[in-house]
C-alpha cells in the first residue's frame, strides 16, 4: 500500500480542482440593430421542434448582415418553430411560423414586432398572403383557410379547402389556394392537385382549377396578373403552369424534372425554377426552360435549398446548405445573367426571401 494519507490528500486536491474547469463561451454581445435600409430578409426555418427559426437581414449594397434580426430587434422574443414564408405589404412583414401556428407581423424597417396571430389550430401553417390592411390569409394542414385582420391580429373567418393546402395567394381579386394532396399521400382525395379560388371576404369557393400533381407554390406576376404554379412530385416530372385567374384557365405549361422552388422576375418577364439540375430560367413567352445556374455551383456536399429574386435588380438569391449538417447556411447571389456576384451567411435552412425596397 502507498501511504494512504498522501493518496487521500491527492484525491481531495485533484477532483475539486478539475471540476467545472470548462467554461462555456461568452454570450453573444447585445447590439443595437443598425438600420440597413434596402435589403433582403432571409427566413431561416431552423430545425423542427427546436424553436429556433430566425431572420437574417442583409444589405446588398454595403454587404452588412444581421443574423437573428428579429431577436436582435426584439430583445426577449424568439420567432418560433419552423418559419417557412414571408410576405411584405405596406411596410409590414408577415412571417408564417409553421409549427408555432403563428403569423408574426413586424415593422419591415425596424424589425420590431407589431403583434402576432396565434391560431387555435393543431395543424401546421404553410403560407400567408395579404389583400389589404384589413384582410390577410393563411392556410393549415388541417385543410383550412383562415382569414385574419392584421389590425387586430384576430382570426375572423375559417373555411375548409382541399387536401393539404400548401400555398395561399391573392390574385385577380380572389384568394388562390394550392391543394397539394401531400405528394402521393393524399393525391386520390377530392381536390388534390387543384387550385381553389375563393371570395376574399366570404371565403366561398367560386372555382376550382386542376393544375397537376402536388401543387405547392403560387407566385403572382404583378405586371400581368397571371399566377405561376409550381407542381410535381419529388424526383419526377412536374414544372410550372401559368394560370389566368380571371379566365379560370391554364394558359401555359413548362415541364421540369424535380421542380422544388419558384421565383418570378416580373420586370424581366421570366421565372426561375429550382430543380435537381440547378436553376432553370423560364421565359414568360412560352419558350422552353433553360439551365441558368448548374447545381454544382452549390459546392461539394451542398445543395440549393430555396430561391428568390430581388425585384429591382433581378439578382438571384439562392439559399445554399453547407455540407451535410443542419448548420448555418449561406446565400449565394447571382446576377440576372447567372454570374456569381457574392455570398453571405444566414441561419439554418433558408426557406424564403422578402425584399425590402
Amino acid at each position: 500500500m502507498i501511504p494512504s494519507s498522501i493518496a487521500r490528500r491527492l484525491l481531495v486536491l485533484l477532483l475539486p480542482l478539475i471540476a467545472g474547469c470548462v467554461s462555456p463561451p461568452d454570450p453573444a454581445p447585445i447590439i443595437e440593430p443598425p438600420s440597413l435600409g434596402r435589403g433582403v430578409i432571409v427566413v431561416n426555418e431552423g430545425l423542427w421542434r427546436s424553436d429556433a427559426a430566425t431572420l437574417t437581414l442583409h444589405n446588398p449594397v454595403t454587404g452588412e448582415t444581421i443574423q437573428d434580426w428579429f431577436g436582435v430587434s426584439n430583445p426577449g422574443l424568439r420567432l418560433g418553430d419552423v418559419a417557412n414564408g414571408i410576405v411584405i405589404h405596406q411596410g409590414r412583414a408577415y412571417v408564417v411560423v409553421s409549427t408555432s401556428r403563428t403569423v408574426e407581423v413586424l415593422d419591415v424597417v425596424t424589425g420590431r414586432s407589431l403583434g402576432r396571430i396565434h391560431l387555435d389550430e393543431p395543424n401546421e401553417l404553410r403560407s400567408v398572403a395579404v389583400l389589404d390592411s384589413a384582410h390577410a390569409y393563411t392556410v393549415s394542414f388541417g385543410d383550412s383557410l383562415f382569414l385574419f385582420d392584421p389590425r387586430t391580429f384576430t382570426v375572423t373567418a375559417r373555411t375548409a379547402v382541399g387536401p393539404a393546402p400548401e400555398w395561399v395567394e391573392v390574385a385577380g381579386g380572389l384568394v388562390v389556394v394550392a391543394n397539394s394532396g401531400l405528394g402521393t399521400l393524399r393525391q386520390t382525395e377530392p381536390g388534390a392537385g387543384t387550385l381553389y379560388l375563393l371570395d376574399p371576404v366570404t371565403l366561398h369557393r367560386v372555382a376550382e382549377i386542376a393544375v397537376g400533381p402536388n401543387p405547392r407554390m403560387v407566385r403572382l406576376d404583378q405586371t400581368s396578373g397571371l399566377v405561376y404554379v409550381l407542381y410535381g412530385l419529388p424526383g419526377q416530372q412536374g414544372g410550372v403552369v401559368e394560370v389566368n385567374i380571371a379566365a379560370r384557365a391554364i394558359t401555359n405549361r413548362w415541364t421540369v424534372l424535380d421542380a422544388r422552388d419558384l421565383a418570378l422576375d416580373s420586370a424581366r418577364r421570366r421565372a426561375y425554377v429550382l430543380a435537381g439540375a440547378g436553376v432553370l430560367r423560364i421565359p414568360f413567352d412560352g419558350t422552353a426552360p433553360v439551365l441558368h445556374i448548374d447545381s454544382s455551383a452549390a459546392g461539394a456536399g451542398g445543395f440549393f435549398y430555396s430561391i428568390g429574386v430581388q425585384p429591382s435588380t433581378g439578382d438571384i438569391y439562392l439559399g445554399t446548405t453547407r455540407g451535410y449538417q443542419p448548420v448555418a447556411a449561406t446565400i449565394q447571389v447571382y446576377t440576372l445573367d447567372g454570374a456569381y456576384r457574392t455570398g453571405f451567411n444566414c441561419g439554418v435552412y433558408p426557406g424564403d426571401f422578402g425584399f425590402r425596397e
Binding site: 487521500r8 478539475i18 409549427t99
Partner: protein
C-alpha cells in the same frame, strides 16, 4: 457555478480523509477500481462482464446497495454515476432515456441482460425508461469499444443488467409501494424461491405516472409556469428467472422479461405549440433466454438461446403533414439468436474462449421503403475468439496478463466486419498499483430504421468503423478505497448521419467522422466500518466532428466536455434489528450544444442537480419493513438534458417496503 462546484466536490470527497485502513469484511469488487490479484486464471460469474473484460478494459460495477442508495427509477439512473456515461433524458420519468458512452452516440451502446444481448444490431437505440430497476441486481458498464468481446455496435461500450440473484436456500418475498410527485404510483412485488436444485426469482412492477410537472417557459416574451401535458406513462413489467443446478458445474437457466408501456409523447416544448397533445406510443416487449452451462475444467461450454419480440405503435392524429389522419404506424420486430461458447483451459497460464453466434432479425411495418416491401430481414453470423495469457510471480507480487481477441461478423444485407482487440494488465509487484492498456477496432451495423425507414432509409449503408484505445492506472489506497484514472481515444469513420438531399427528402449516409479523447477519474470507497460508501466519477472529454465541411473541428452535439457524479450512502444509526441511513448524490453535466456547428443559440447550459434520501429499516421477526423518503433535484434547479425538454424541478417520493425471509 464553479464555486458551488468546488464546494460540492469537496463535500463529496472529504469523507475519504477519514477512510479506514484495510477492512475485514467486505468482499472485493470485480470492477477496475479495486485491483484483483489474478495469479492464475479465475472463473467469475458467467453472467458478469468481468469474465469478458479480463481486467484490461475499464469495467464499472454498481451493486444493489448503490442502486438502492441512488433511488434509481430505471437502470440509466444508475449508469449516470459511471465515468464517461452520458444519459440523455427527454423530459421527466415518462420520457425516453438513452445511454451514450465516451462521446459515441447511444447507438454505440450495447445492452445485455445477464450477459446476453438485449436485441440485435438492427434494433437501434434502447430506451431505458421502460426497464424498472427493481428487477436489476447489478449494473455493469464496460467503457470503450468492445466489439471484439460483446459483438457489433459496442463501439462506445456495453451495459449489462444482471437480474440473476445469487441462488441460495433462503426463501425471500418482498413488496413495495411508492407514491410520488406528479402522480407517480408504483407497486412492486417479487420473491426468490429455492426448490431443491431449482431456484426461481420473480419481479412484477406496475407504474403509473402523470408526469405533469411544472416548468418555466418564455413564450413570445412572456414568462409563465406551464404544466407538462401528455407526459404520462403506464408501465407493467415482469421478470422471471429460473436456475437448475443439475450437478456441480452444470446449470440450466432461463430468464424472461416482459413489459407493456403506454405513454404520451409530448415532444419538445416550442412556442405556440407547447406539446404534441395527442401523440401516443405503445410498446410491448418480450425477451426470453434459455441456456445450459457446463463448467468443468479444462473444457467448459455454454449454449444459449434468446428471443425478443417487440411491438411498437405510434399515433398522432394531429400530424397531418403525414396524411389525412395523421400518423398511425405500427412496427413489429422479432429477434432470435443462438449462441455457443466454448472455454478451454490449456494451463494455469493460458485460457481460450470461442463464441459462435447466429442471429436472425426481422421487422414488419407500414412505413418502410417501397422497395423493401412491408418486411425486412437480416441474418448475422458472428465468430469470436479470445486468448489470454497470464504470468505471476507470487514471491515478488508481479503479475502480467495479455488478452488477444478477434470477432468476425457476416451479415446478409451488409458488408462483413472484423474487430481485433489487444489488451494487457500489469500489477507492479507489491505496490498497490495496476496498469492496463487496450486497443481495439469495432463496427456498428446500421439499424433497420437507418436502412429501410420511408424517405430516410438507405439500403447502401455500410457499418460504421471505429478504433478505440485506452490506458489507465488503478491505485488501491486501501482494501476498500480505490482510485482509477483512464485516458481514452476514439475515432469513428463512416458515421451514419441523416443528410438532407433536397428540401423535402433526407437520407441516411456514411459520411461522418468523429474523434474523441478524454480522461476518466473515478474513486470508490467504503469506510467507517462500512457505514459510509462513496462513489465519485469525473470525465473530461473532447468529442469533435472531423467530417470535412463547415463543422470540421467543432464540438459534436450532446457531447458535454465535463461530467461529474457522486453518491454517498451513510448509515447514520444502528440499533438492534434496525438501521437508519441517509443517501444522496449529485450530477454535474457540462454545457453542450444541441446542434452541430457550436451555434450559441443551441447551447444548453451546464447544470448541477442534487438528490437526497433517507431510509429506515426495522426487522420484526422474519419480516423487514423499510420506509424511504426521497427528494430529487433538491435545489429545484431548472435545467434541460435535451434541448426544449424541460426536466422536473424538486420532487418527492415516499415508499414503504415489506420483505419476508426464511433467513434469520
Amino acid at each position: 457555478m464553479r464555486a458551488s462546484f468546488i464546494i460540492v466536490s469537496a463535500l463529496l470527497v472529504a469523507p475519504a480523509l477519514y477512510a479506514q485502513g484495510p477492512g475485514d469484511s467486505a468482499g472485493r469488487r470485480e470492477d477496475t477500481l479495486v485491483s484483483r490479484r489474478v495469479s492464475s486464471v479465475t472463473v467469475s460469474a458467467p453472467r458478469s462482464l468481468s469474465r469478458m473484460t479480463r481486467g484490461s478494459q475499464p469495467l464499472s460495477i454498481i451493486d444493489r446497495r448503490t442502486i438502492d442508495a441512488t433511488g434509481a427509477r430505471d437502470p440509466s439512473d444508475v449508469v449516470a454515476s459511471v465515468p464517461g456515461a452520458y444519459v440523455r433524458q427527454y423530459g421527466g420519468a415518462g420520457g425516453m432515456r438513452t445511454v451514450a458512452l465516451r462521446g459515441v452516440g447511444a447507438e454505440g451502446t450495447v445492452v445485455m441482460v445477464d450477459g446476453v444481448r438485449f436485441g440485435g444490431t438492427a434494433a437501434g437505440v434502447l430506451d431505458f425508461s421502460t426497464l424498472p430497476v427493481a428487477m436489476v441486481e447489478q449494473v455493469e458498464v464496460v467503457r470503450g469499444g468492445a466489439t471484439a468481446l460483446a459483438g457489433p455496435n459496442a463501439t462506445g461500450g456495453v451495459v449489462n443488467l444482471v437480474t440473476d440473484r445469487r441462488p441460495d436456500s433462503v426463501v425471500r418475498l418482498r413488496a413495495r409501494a411508492t407514491g410520488g410527485s406528479f402522480g407517480e404510483r408504483t407497486v412492486e412485488i417479487g420473491g426468490e424461491i429455492p426448490l431443491g436444485e431449482h431456484h426461481f426469482d420473480v419481479d412484477a412492477v406496475r407504474s403509473d405516472l402523470l408526469g405533469d410537472y411544472p416548468f418555466l417557459f418564455n413564450e413570445f416574451g412572456a414568462e409563465r409556469t406551464v404544466r407538462r401535458e401528455n407526459a404520462d406513462l403506464h408501465l407493467t413489467s415482469l421478470h422471471g428467472g429460473w436456475r437448475w443446478n443439475v450437478e456441480p458445474g452444470v446449470r440450466v437457466s432461463g430468464t424472461l422479461l416482459a413489459s407493456d408501456a403506454d405513454r404520451g409523447v409530448p415532444g419538445a416544448v416550442v412556442q405556440g405549440n407547447i406539446e404534441q397533445l395527442h401523440a401516443r406510443l405503445r410498446e410491448r416487449d418480450l425477451f426470453a433466454t434459455a441456456r445450459v452451462t457446463v463448467d468443468p475444467d479444462p473444457l467448459g461450454w455454454e449454449l444459449a438461446l434468446s428471443a425478443r419480440g417487440t411491438g411498437t405503435h405510434y399515433r398522432d392524429p394531429n400530424a397531418r403533414s403525414a396524411g389525412a389522419t395523421g400518423i398511425d404506424e405500427e412496427f413489429n420486430r422479432l429477434d432470435v439468436a443462438a449462441i455457443a461458447r466454448v472455454r478451454m483451459l490449456f494451463s494455469a497460464h493460458l485460457v481460450a474462449d470461442g463464441t459462435l453466434e447466429l442471429r436472425n432479425e426481422r421487422l414488419t411495418g407500414e412505413l418502410l421503403d417501397p422497395e423493401a416491401g412491408d418486411r425486412v430481414e437480416r441474418m448475422n453470423l458472428g465468430l469470436a475468439g479470445l486468448l489470454r495469457w497470464i504470468d505471476a510471480d507470487s514471491a515478488g507480487g508481479w503479475e502480467r496478463s495479455v488478452d488477444l481477441a478477434t470477432r468476425l461478423d457476416l451479415f446478409t444485407t451488409l458488408p462483413s466486419g472484423v474487430a481485433p482487440s489487444l489488451g494487457g494488465v500489469l500489477q507492479l509487484g507489491q505496490l498497490p498499483v495496476r496498469l492496463r492498456a487496450r486497443a481495439g477496432a469495432g463496427y456498428r451495423a446500421p439499424s433497420f430504421a437507418e436502412q429501410y425507414y420511408l424517405n430516410v432509409g438507405n439500403t447502401r449503408l455500410r457499418p460504421e468503423r471505429s478504433v478505440s484505445v485506452d490506458g489507465g492506472v488503478t491505485v488501491e489506497i486501501s482494501e476498500k478505497v480505490g482510485v482509477e484514472c483512464t485516458g481514452f481515444l476514439g475515432d469513428t469513420r463512416d458515421r451514419i448521419v441523416a443528410v438532407p438531399r433536397s428540401p423535402v427528402s433526407w437520407s441516411a449516409t456514411n459520411i461522418g467522422r468523429v474523434q474523441s479523447a478524454g480522461v476518466e477519474i473515478a474513486g470508490t470507497g467504503q469506510m467507517l466500518d462500512d457505514r459510509l460508501a462513496l462513489r465519485l466519477a469525473y470525465t473530461r472529454s473532447d468529442t469533435r466532428d472531423r467530417t470535412p465541411g463547415p463543422t470540421f473541428g467543432l464540438l459534436l452535439p450532446y457531447a458535454p466536455q465535463e461530467l461529474l457524479s457522486g453518491t454517498f450512502d451513510a448509515v447514520v444509526g444502528r440499533w438492534e434489528r434496525g438501521a437508519w441511513s441517509v443517501a444522496g448524490g449529485g450530477i454535474y453535466t457540462g454545457f453542450r450544444y444541441a446542434q452541430p456547428g457550436e451555434d450559441r443559440a443551441t447551447l444548453i447550459p451546464s447544470a448541477l442537480t442534487l438528490d437526497l434520501s433517507t431510509r429506515l429499516r426495522q426487522q420484526f421477526g422474519a419480516v423487514a419493513v423499510t420506509a424511504r423518503a426521497e427528494c430529487t433535484n433538491l435545489a429545484d434547479t431548472a435545467y434541460q438534458i435535451v434541448r426544449n425538454y424541460p426536466m422536473p424541478g424538486r420532487s418527492w417520493r415516499l415508499s414503504v417496503g415489506v420483505a419476508w425471509s426464511t433467513e434469520q
